[in-house]
């Protein structure tokens, strides 16, 4: 049962007849007994809430920053007309602002035996799954004095996917990939190390690529073309430990790493490589296996990354390299997205690195903090100079750590969040071009 503002208003207006006509208990009763009866009658005549039937339909996934529409169909099986207010409750992060939350409230009427469809617009503020909470219905009586209130549980989940903002870099990297592939008509010796085909010599071709045996067999001069290797294995290892929770700008490091992962995966899939993924801190948080070469792994990747959250624990580096080795049976490019903080790398990663580099090519990518760069450049006051010293110290430490990793034969990519994805893609293309995959 719920009262409306109208009931309170009628009671307030009742003070006029009580005060003017009957200032006594009798006057009070004369006003309030009919009001109470009207409220009770209104409550009794309101359409029942418990028997309402609900179904949902609409979007099940949305990219972060876009809007999702979820429909809720209300069926009124009773013979009474349903005049109701409805709140379709979702977690607060399903909207970016308070004002947008108003779209979860609906006011509508359904005649007996009919149905209506209501649409709730979500614009989630964070990655992850949004699970619908209860649907609260307030069914008003014919006079609008009282209402029946009840709840319904109508499950629905909207998965909010990572935004993949770095996909704007994809066309330029694909163009570079095509250059590598020899598909464009460049007269330089085709990059790559895998033999592709023989073709007739064209003036301007690199004379080193002339295949003399083939030329001897036929009347024209033949040159070999080369293409980059295909069907290589790439294993992306996301470190979801405590260092990935640190925010650079307003975004956790993990999100920047995910963005880079998605660009790399999109590029590698086009290049015909197989991309696998592990997210690990002290146990495997997510794992995606690509079954076929060139198969589109991106949807599976995006979906499993959507619900990944940083865990506030120290990453188990030994377990991480063991898991990586176990899930990379073939020679692979292992892309380790972690941090370049001195302690975790020196104590955790460095001792286990030889196991990885023995069979695999290892690339470590880390998110640098532009704020530390700004700190290192601050000047003028004493505080600013001390900040600069601390910033420079942090940068030197980072550089030292990166040097240590390079010493082990690891390729290191260290870039600010916005530049990490293109930098990682470039590093991948460079490795591919030099045939190190």
């Amino acid at each position: 049962m719920a009262l409306t503002g109208r009931a309170a208003l009628v009671a307030a207006l009742g003070s006029l007849p009580v005060g003017i006509l009957g200032p006594s208990w009798a006057g009070m009763l004369a006003v309030n007994v009919p009001l109470a009866l009207a409220i009770l009658g209104d409550y009794a005549l309101a359409a029942p809430v418990r028997t309402l039937q609900f179904t949902r339909s609409g979007d099940t996934s949305v990219r972060l920053g876009d809007t999702a529409a979820v429909q809720l169909t209300v069926t009124n099986p009773s013979r009474r007309r349903l005049r109701a207010q409805l709140r379709d409750a979702w977690p607060p992060s399903s909207w970016c602002s308070e004002a947008e939350q108003a779209s979860s409230r609906h006011e509508f009427a359904v005649p007996g035996g009919e149905r209506r469809r209501l649409t709730t617009i979500l614009r989630p503020a964070r990655r992850g799954d949004r699970v619908a909470d209860r649907v609260t219905v307030r069914s008003l009586g014919p006079l609008g004095l009282a209402a029946r209130q009840g709840y319904h549980r109508v499950p629905w989940t909207v998965r909010v996917l990572p935004p993949f903002t770095s996909r704007k870099h994809l066309p330029s990297r694909l163009a570079r990939l095509r250059e590598l592939d020899g598909r464009t008509s460049v007269l330089t010796r085709g990059e790559g190390t895998e033999f592709d085909s023989l073709r007739a010599y064209v003036p301007g071709d690199d004379t080193r690529s002339i295949d003399w045996r083939a030329t001897a067999r036929q009347s024209t001069v033949a040159v070999r073309t080369w293409r980059p290797e295909r069907d290589r294995h790439i294993l992306v290892v996301l470190d979801t430990g405590r260092t990935s929770a640190g925010r650079v700008g307003d975004v956790p490091r993990l999100d920047a790493a995910m963005d880079a992962t998605l660009l790399l995966a999109a590029l590698a899939t086009r290049a015909g490589d197989r991309v696998n993924l592990i997210a690990y801190d002290r146990r495997v948080r997510a794992q995606v296996q690509c079954r076929t070469a060139g198969g589109n792994v991106l949807p599976a990747l995006v979906s499993s990354l959507a619900t990944l959250e940083p865990a506030l624990v120290e990453t188990d580096a030994r377990g991480l390299s063991t898991t990586a080795l176990a899930s990379a049976p073939h020679r692979s490019l292992i892309v380790l997205l972690t941090s370049l903080d001195a302690a975790p790398v020196e104590e955790g990663l460095l001792p286990t690195l030889p196991q990885l580099t023995r069979r695999h090519t290892v690339l470590v990518a880390a998110v640098a903090d532009p704020h530390i760069e700004a700190m290192a450049g601050s000047r003028g006051t004493v505080d600013a100079v001390y900040e600069a010293a601390a910033g420079a110290q942090a940068q030197a430490q980072r550089r030292r750590t990166a040097d240590q990793l390079r010493h082990h034969g690891v390729t290191v990519v260290d870039a600010a969040p916005n530049d990490l994805a293109p930098a990682l893609a470039d590093a991948y293309l460079t490795l591919k071009a030099s045939g190190r995959l």
Binding site: V18, G19, R87, R134, Y151, H152, V154, A392
Partner: protein, 410 residues
């Protein structure tokens, strides 16, 4: 989602049956509590009910003595308010105050004022504490003693006639004035004290009410003493103080003087001046306010909770280190770090490998060769001692920047 999944069972609100199942335990507990309370109250109220009431036939009532007095031609009237009791005082009246301790200080003062000059008799039953000094000035209450049969040992005719009676309770001593103490203990304090006032009036302090109880009236000389104490005047006013006496509310804590009364009467008068229509209208508005509170208080579904992500800035530890440097005045560490950073930055510009950036023998000649007009002491700038104060540190930073700019542009 299929329609099959959308069964009518999506409702989460409780059915009337579920509500009944939930609240019936509570209702049962409340019922047991009420029944037990009523039963206990009924069982325990027996002896105490109508204590010292001249209309009560209970063991602790006093109907027997009142009836005996009536038989002897004394009129017995019950007063429950101070106004009645005060109005009834007079030279031919005995005023019995059954529970003087229950009266507020203000009431006691009014009672004293009414009885002091009335030339009647006032009997105070078991007066104790500060009420004694207000109702019978000059008398002091002493310790409590158990009720027992005692001999009078005094000159009061009534006591002498009655002989041994059940006496006890509060004992009194008189500081002065014309008093008679009866049934005294060995240390001189007595449970029955007669204090003569002005004229023919007197005040009788009785330490315990036992001689007037129905249960004990026929024992010892209780009846005799009671009849003589209460029957000395043709009228007896039996004052039973009650809480619904309007005079209890007056005077506040009792230490105020009469001006407080005027204030309350003034407020009554002000309320009395408001037309009743306004009062009733306001009452109706209050009812409307309650309805509005119910309207606004009903939530439209519960709050939805969710797990929030942690918010840690990645640069937090570096900022902390900067503040730590500042607090410790670590100019040496700061200068070392800044010099080293500059050396690392300029070494590739000079064709010096980063490994040699920290050796003065390699770096300094390279810098000197690069700059056409070397400004100042390069060795002191790039490898010198820690600055002496904060100003020197800021200056050093500026000089390092200037050097780096110079190397870049040369």
């Amino acid at each position: 989602m299929t329609t099959a999944a959308a069964a009518p069972t999506t409702s989460e609100s409780r059915t009337p049956r579920q509500i009944w199942h939930r609240v019936r335990g509570m209702l049962l507990a409340v019922l047991i509590l009420v029944v037990a309370g009523v039963a206990l109250a009924a069982a325990r109220s027996g002896g105490q009910h109508g204590r010292l009431d001249p209309r009560s036939p209970d063991p602790y009532g006093s109907r027997a003595v009142a009836e005996l007095l009536r038989d002897r031609g004394v009129s017995v009237d019950v007063a429950t308010t101070l106004a009645e009791a005060a109005a009834a005082t007079g030279p031919d009246t005995t005023l019995l105050v059954a529970r003087p301790n229950m009266l507020t200080a203000h009431q006691q003062q009014r009672l004293r004022a009414a009885t002091a000059d009335s030339a009647g008799r006032t009997v105070l039953i078991a007066a104790d504490g500060p009420s004694v000094s207000r109702l019978a000035p000059g008398v002091r209450p002493e310790s409590h003693r158990p009720v027992a049969a005692r001999t009078p040992r005094c000159e009061l005719p009534a006591a002498r006639t009655a002989g041994t009676t059940d006496m006890g309770g509060v004992h009194y001593t008189a500081a002065g004035g014309e008093t008679t103490a009866c049934y005294p203990d060995d240390d001189g304090i007595a449970p029955l004290l007669v204090l003569r006032g002005h004229g023919a009036g007197d005040t009788v302090l009785l330490g315990s009410p036992d001689i007037l109880h129905n249960a004990r009236l026929d024992q010892q000389g209780n009846a005799s003493l009671g009849l003589q104490l209460l029957g000395s005047r043709p009228h007896l006013v039996w004052y039973l103080p009650s809480l619904d006496d309007p005079s209890t509310a007056q005077g506040g804590s009792g230490d105020q003087d009469d001006s407080g009364d005027d204030g309350t009467e003034g407020a009554n008068g002000f309320l009395g001046l408001i037309p009743s229509g306004w009062l009733w209208g306001t009452l109706q508005l209050a009812l409307a306010a309650v309805l509005a509170a119910i309207w606004r208080g009903r939530r439209f579904g519960p709050l939805v909770t969710e797990r929030l992500p942690v918010v840690i800035r990645a640069s937090e530890s570096t900022e902390g280190r900067a503040r730590l440097y500042r607090k410790a005045d670590a100019r040496d560490r700061a200068a070392d770090t800044l010099r080293s950073a500059t050396r690392i930055r300029i070494s590739p510009l000079l064709g010096v490998s980063p490994r040699d950036a920290d050796s003065p023998a390699v770096l300094l000649p390279a810098v000197a060769a690069r700059l056409s007009t070397p400004s100042g002491d390069l060795g002191a700038l790039l490898f010198g001692p820690a600055p002496a104060d904060d100003a020197a540190l800021v200056l050093l930073t500026d000089q390092l920047d200037a050097l780096e700019r110079e190397v870049r542009t040369s």
